[in-house]
Point group: C2
Chain length 243, copies 2
């Protein structure tokens, strides 16, 4: 049976999705919980690597099992063995062809900036505290330049290995809610650190360091040094995966 899981996690205390020796990871904790429930050693497939400190409101994983526990009981069984900050919210039996990584058609990420003089301690795990005023309307304006299909090579951290650096952004919404600036970005895929570099670039616009209409040129240049900083991991959250 091919099982699809929906997970939610607070990434603060984990070193990202992927199993690495000597540190606690989401994949490692999930694998341990699956073993406790089924007795089987499996390597769950994830919808993408997430970096250390990045969160997920809805992360999709899949694994194959001989175990016959009913799908609607799987979340309860796994949650009994998953550590704090990782919750399984749903399970579904899928056709054999489903693979959480290869079947993904797109993703929405959310990035939260806590834009106030002092950080909100209740949001400190989930938001980048940026104390100088940011103009969210300017950021929303600049965000339009990212829409559509572009070569995002200037918005990728080095060390990646991909077939192409061309990606399509379907939507990029920036809005202010009180002291929080919330950005939702949907695309067919994202390069390594791409969302965080986009946020760093938008923060430069919001803070008046870069003009909103200069962003199109920055994308076109393909020059990492012209884009903004890589915004911190803790503000980033995988919101939804599309299949």
């Amino acid at each position: 049976m091919n099982i699809k899981l929906e997970l939610q996690f607070d990434g603060t205390d984990y070193h990202g999705w992927q199993i690495q020796s000597g540190v606690s990871t989401i994949q490692g904790e999930l694998r341990r919980a699956i073993k406790a429930v089924t007795g089987e050693v499996v390597m769950p497939v994830g919808c993408g690597r997430t970096d250390a400190g990045v969160h997920a409101m809805s992360y999709i994983a899949s694994y194959k099992t001989e175990n016959r526990i009913p799908a609607d009981r799987i979340p309860y069984a796994l949650n009994a063995h998953l550590p704090p900050g990782i919750i399984c919210r749903g399970a579904e039996i899928m056709p054999d062809s489903f693979n959480a990584a290869r079947s993904a058609k797109g993703k929405t990420y959310r990035y939260i900036i806590d834009n106030n003089e002092f950080p909100d301690v209740m949001m400190s795990r989930f938001a980048w505290h940026y104390r100088y005023p940011l103009d969210a309307a300017l950021m929303a304006d600049a965000a339009k330049a990212f829409l559509g299909t572009h070569d995002f090579i200037g918005f990728a951290a080095s060390g990646f290995s991909v077939k192409t650096t061309v990606r399509t952004i379907h939507s990029l919404i920036v809005k202010r809610e009180g002291n929080m600036i919330i950005t939702d970005i949907t695309g067919n895929g994202f390069l390594y650190n791409m969302v965080r570099i986009i946020i760093g670039t938008l923060a430069d616009v919001g803070g008046g360091k870069t003009a909103a209409d200069a962003v199109a040129e920055t994308i076109l240049s393909g020059d990492r040094s012209r884009a903004g900083i890589t915004a911190p991991a803790n503000g980033l959250c995988l919101k939804e995966v599309f299949y």
Copy 2:
């Protein structure tokens, strides 16, 4: 100089406000930060004891100092020495007569219930996960019985020592926002665990275990065993203190 501080804290990792030997407390961490900034050993006064795991959006403390650092710089100075989860958001010079505890006229507490099948990991530090459906409208209806001046002896944990168990509740608002049931309760003072027992009692009503119109009788009875359970500390947050 008599300094009034506004603090915010995530109480998850602290054993409440009051200094106790061998554990980390808000008062202890504040005292340490004040010593690092001023060189002085002071015992800051707090607006109230908060239990282990209880949070504060706005907690008021005060202390007397010979130090002449300008009030608007005090938050930055203290924040450089306060541990994660405790933030000073403001400081003000007050008349000598001000005392964060004795001068307090009332308080608003917020209690958050995460009422969904699976807990929201992003709220797990700040909400009581209650998986069975609660009717917030019934809870709001039952809440009316608490308004006004009553002897709340049936809504106090044992072990307290107070002059009177009579308290006045000015307002008690229960509302649902998505999966969260948010209760704001304002009164002139609260007995030990009183807010948490009120929430436990309202949860009994919301879950259909007790009728909304039985609550007035429960208050009148003064019988702790007729009220609900003491709701967990982690859902409770001091929202505002009135002077």
